[in-house]
Every structure is written in structure tokens, then in C-alpha cells.
């Protein structure tokens, strides 16, 4: 009886849980054929063993922590600035008229393309990494906040006008809750992008972090370490995404009347 909800959960996700196993199966089979050299296409068990080794000597955890710390500060700065910028443009359309174009053009530049410029400006230290992450986190949050603020239902704005809401009440009772689901979608996107970009930036230049671990593995020709990095990056990204999806679902549970 107690097991049934968990079982139902498992059953619903079985198809999506199956695909990684199929991939590992195919990987194993191809490795068995010895079509590729064993030090190029590492068989899954060896990657797993390397994973356990890296876990045991603490290297993996240290690197995840280093990447995580960068993501956290870069994301906090970028998402915070994005929230402010999105709110400001949503509440004062004049601002959007002035900055909208610039905003749209800058947004078209792939975030990794900023790396060379930023390295010239800031060197390859922490500042460069945090700025590039903040930049990646800024746009999704700014855009979704703007979108959320702009799409506050008109029929509820009437209510606010009718009761002569002051600024504080307008923000607290109408704008923020109406925009929240959209903002959270942006935050989720921003966080997964931040995670991607930190790994990419560490491949360029770092002395710690998952990306650094992978780059070091490549240079030492330890492809198994690189593979562990790939899998860990994916899994951490997935977990972050799922966590924020839960938050998002929680705050979207009220039903906004359509219109």
C-alpha cells in the first residue's frame, strides 16, 4: 500500500529512465567490438571505476564545489541584475524604448563568444569566469521578468486601479505574483546556462573545477576522466533543473484565469 505511489512514480518515468541505460548498453557493445582503441572509447565500467576513484580521493567533490561556488556568485549577480533590469523595463516602458534595441543585439551574441574579450580585459582569473556566468544568467532572467511584468492581466490591473493601489500594493499584490511563474522559468534557464558556461569557461582557463578536471584529463590523455566530467556535468545540470522545476510548479499552482 505504502509503496504504490512510489511505484506509480517509477512507472511513469520508466521510459525516460530506460534511455540512459540503453545508451550505456550500446556504448558497452561498441567498446566490445574493439573498433576503436580502448584508450579512445573507454568502456563504461572503466569510466565508472575512474568515477569511484575520483570520488574516493575527494578530487571530484572538490572540483564540483569549485565550479558550484563560481556558478553561485555569477548566477546571483547576473540573475539579480536581470531581475532589476526586467522589472525596470516592464514598469517603465520608456526605458525599454531606449535600451530595447541594444538589449536585443547583445542577446544575440553567444555567451561563450564573450570569453576572448573578457580574458583580454580581466585576465584568466576568477573575475573573468564570474562575469561570463553573470552575463549568461542575466538575459534569461531579464527577458522573462520583462515578459511577466508586461503580461500582468489587464483585468486585474483594473482591480488595482479601482482600489487605488499604491506602488507597494501594486508590486506585492499584483505585479510580483503575476510575473512570478515567468520569472522562475527564466531563473531555471539561467541556472542551467550558468552551469554549462562555468564548465566551458574552466576548459579555457582554471586551476580547479569540473572543466579544469576535464581539460587536465585531455592533456594527460586520460579520456576516462574526461568522460566522468561529461557525465557529472550532465547529471548536476539535470538535478539543478529538476529542483527548480519543482519550485516553479509550486508557485504556478494557482490557476490564472485566462485573458
Amino acid at each position: 500500500m505504502q509503496l504504490s505511489p512510489a511505484f506509480g512514480w517509477l512507472l511513469k518515468r520508466l521510459p525516460s529512465l530506460l534511455s540512459p541505460f540503453i545508451l550505456i548498453g550500446v556504448w558497452e557493445l561498441v567498446a566490445q567490438t574493439h573498433l576503436f582503441a580502448a584508450n579512445i572509447l573507454i568502456p563504461p565500467q572503466q569510466v565508472f571505476r575512474t568515477f569511484l576513484d575520483l570520488l574516493a580521493d575527494g578530487e571530484l567533490i572538490d572540483n564540483i564545489k569549485a565550479s558550484g561556488a563560481r556558478v553561485l556568485s555569477g548566477f546571483a549577480i547576473g540573475a539579480g541584475a536581470g531581475l532589476i533590469a526586467g522589472m525596470a523595463m516592464g514598469l517603465y516602458p520608456a526605458l525599454e524604448r531606449y535600451f530595447g534595441l541594444l538589449f536585443t543585439v547583445i542577446r544575440q551574441v553567444p555567451f561563450i563568444a564573450w570569453a576572448p574579450l573578457l580574458i583580454v580585459a580581466f585576465g584568466i582569473g576568477e573575475t573573468f569566469k564570474i562575469i561570463i556566468i553573470a552575463n549568461a544568467a542575466f538575459f534569461p532572467v531579464a527577458l522573462s521578468t520583462l515578459d511577466g511584468v508586461r503580461n500582468v492581466p489587464r483585468h486585474l490591473k483594473d482591480v488595482a486601479a479601482l482600489f487605488r493601489f499604491d506602488r507597494l500594493a501594486l508590486m506585492r499584490s499584483l505585479v510580483l505574483p503575476a510575473a512570478l511563474p515567468s520569472i522562475l522559468t527564466g531563473v531555471r534557464l539561467a541556472l542551467s546556462r550558468s552551469w554549462m558556461i562555468v564548465v566551458a569557461a574552466e576548459l579555457f582557463a582554471a586551476s580547479s573545477g569540473i572543466g579544469h578536471m576535464m581539460d587536465w584529463g585531455r592533456q594527460m590523455f586520460q579520456i576516462d576522466v574526461v568522460m566522468v566530467g561529461v557525465v557529472v556535468t550532465g547529471v548536476v545540470g539535470f538535478i539543478l533543473d529538476q529542483m527548480l522545476r519543482q519550485v516553479e510548479a509550486h508557485f504556478s499552482s494557482w490557476k490564472l484565469p485566462s485573458r
Binding site: H155, D158, V159, L162, F163, F165, D166, A169, W254
Partner: protein, 286 residues
């Protein structure tokens, strides 16, 4: 009843709370809450062409009067209420409340929208309290007023429910409480009972009447339902569509509360039905 004990609020700008001799205060209050709509016309621009929606509407609502407005869908009833509420200032003609032109929304004029328009993220209680947002009143008074008005519309026990957790009729009642909680002098009701079943409707009509008698508030209520209009209204205003204009004003002249089966009520109902172009139901069903 709990409601009769409602605390007077510390608002300075209301005539009834100034320190004048009672007779003058009453007279002033009467003058101060009279609504005059004079030669009001309104058009919307659709595809850059003006679409006339209201044409030359004039009416007077005396303090404490219950006016009902009937008319076909699309004849501009909601638009008229929005103009009176001050939500739309783009019109021709004059709307005066207490002798002063209406220049925007005011807590003296309450409006219940056709759809309940509660904030989906606030509980029933919080929704009602949101009406206080522009008034500096203390929490205790606020709480008391909210509680009294929840009781007034019979929503006890649903204070903590969210709008999507209550029925349409209950949400509409919460919206009525939200409109009443600031004790407006005039309450505009846009088909407040449009979304409820026939039985609940009869019940809520009597509730509305009770609230009206109890509060002495002026009411202007829009409805599709002719019987409802005659049963509740001191005066029934019949609108004709395209563009919306007044085709008939009927003074009911019966004391309230009334008996639905009163022959005079039935006669008036028939008379109003005759105002519409397709009076088929009444001609063929007898």
C-alpha cells in the same frame, strides 16, 4: 447582526463624518452621494473606425436608490459601469458624483465586475483585505471589517480558501464583499449573479436585497434577467443596442422586499419584455 456594529472608519474626506449638525450632515450626505450621468456617449475605435457603444445616456441615482439596468448582450452595460467607476475617462458628456465630475476611481464608488476578478494568488480573506491597500487603517480594524463582510456574504469557513477552490457563486460573493468593505456610497454591480444557477440566483437576489436594505448604499445593478431587474429595482432602465441607448425608464414604485408573484411585478415584467424586438417567449407561451 454582526454587521450593524461595523466600526466607523477614520477617513476624513467623507461628508458623513464631518462635525456638522445631524440635519445638515444628512442633507449634505444626500447631496454628496447623488450620481448624475448626463448625455454620456462613448465610442471605441475598432480598426481605426469609431464604433459607437453608448449614445446620449442620462440617468440620476438618488442616494439609497436601487437602479437596475437591463439590455441585450453587447449594448454597453459594462462600459457604462466602467465610466461611472472612473476606470475609463474617454467619453463625451458628464458624470457627476456628489456634484463633482468623476475623474478616476474612488473608494466612494465600488464596482463588482462581471467576472469576479479576485487575485488568484490571494485567499478569499486576503482578496477582501486588498481593497484597503490605499488606506492607512490599523490591522485590528482591518481584520474586523474583513470578518464582518465575510459574514455578510455568508462565506464563513472559506477565509483561507483560494479563489480556484471555491465555486463561481462563492467567488462572486467574495467580490461583493471586497467591493463593500470600504463602505462605498454607491455600489455598481455588473451582472453579479450571471454565473450562478437558478436556485442560488434566487437566494443571492434576496441576499443582495438584504445587504442593500442593511447598508443603505446606492446600487446600480446590470442584469440580463428582466424578472431580477423588476424584483430588485426601484427603477429599471432598459437599454437598446447598437449603439447602446436608453429606450425606457420604469419606476417600479413598490416597497421592498417584494413578492415575486405580485401581479404588478408580473405586469411590469411583461411590459419590459415588450420593449425588446423579439418578445416571442411571452407571446407564444401563454
Amino acid at each position: 447582526m454582526a454587521v450593524s456594529k461595523i466600526v466607523q472608519l477614520p477617513t476624513a474626506n467623507r461628508a458623513r463624518e464631518t462635525h456638522e449638525p445631524p440635519s445638515i450632515a444628512v442633507a449634505r450626505r444626500h447631496h454628496a452621494t447623488e450620481l448624475v450621468v448626463r448625455n454620456v456617449s462613448k465610442s471605441f475605435n475598432i480598426d481605426r473606425r469609431p464604433l459607437p457603444v453608448l449614445q446620449d445616456i442620462s440617468l440620476v441615482a438618488q442616494p439609497g436608490q436601487f437602479i437596475t439596468i437591463v439590455g441585450a448582450s453587447g449594448c454597453g452595460k459594462s462600459t457604462l459601469l466602467r465610466l461611472i467607476a472612473g476606470l475609463d475617462r474617454d467619453f463625451e458628456g458628464e458624470i457627476l458624483f456628489g456634484g463633482r465630475p468623476v475623474s478616476g476611481p474612488s473608494l466612494d464608488r465600488g464596482l463588482v465586475f462581471q467576472d469576479h476578478r479576485l487575485f488568484p494568488w490571494l485567499t478569499i480573506e486576503q482578496n477582501i483585505a486588498s481593497a484597503f491597500s490605499s488606506r492607512p487603517i490599523d490591522t485590528a480594524t482591518k481584520r474586523l471589517l474583513v470578518k464582518d463582510h465575510i459574514a455578510l456574504v455568508g462565506l464563513n469557513g472559506f477565509e483561507k480558501a483560494y479563489p480556484h477552490q471555491v465555486s463561481g457563486g462563492m467567488a462572486q460573493r467574495a467580490a461583493i464583499a471586497r467591493a463593500l468593505v470600504n463602505e462605498p456610497d454607491i455600489l455598481l454591480l455588473d451582472e453579479p449573479l450571471g454565473a450562478v444557477d437558478a436556485l442560488t440566483r434566487l437566494y443571492l437576489q434576496e441576499e443582495l436585497q438584504r445587504i442593500w436594505l442593511q447598508k443603505g448604499v446606492t446600487m446600480i445593478m446590470v442584469t440580463h434577467d428582466i424578472e431580477e431587474a423588476v424584483f430588485l429595482g426601484d427603477q429599471v432602465i432598459v437599454l437598446q443596442p447598437r449603439p447602446g441607448r436608453i429606450s425606457k425608464v420604469i419606476d417600479v414604485g413598490l416597497t421592498q422586499p417584494r413578492d415575486r408573484e405580485d401581479s404588478r411585478i408580473l405586469k411590469l415584467k411583461k411590459e419590459i419584455l415588450g420593449e425588446f424586438h423579439n418578445p416571442a417567449p411571452i407571446n407564444y407561451s401563454i
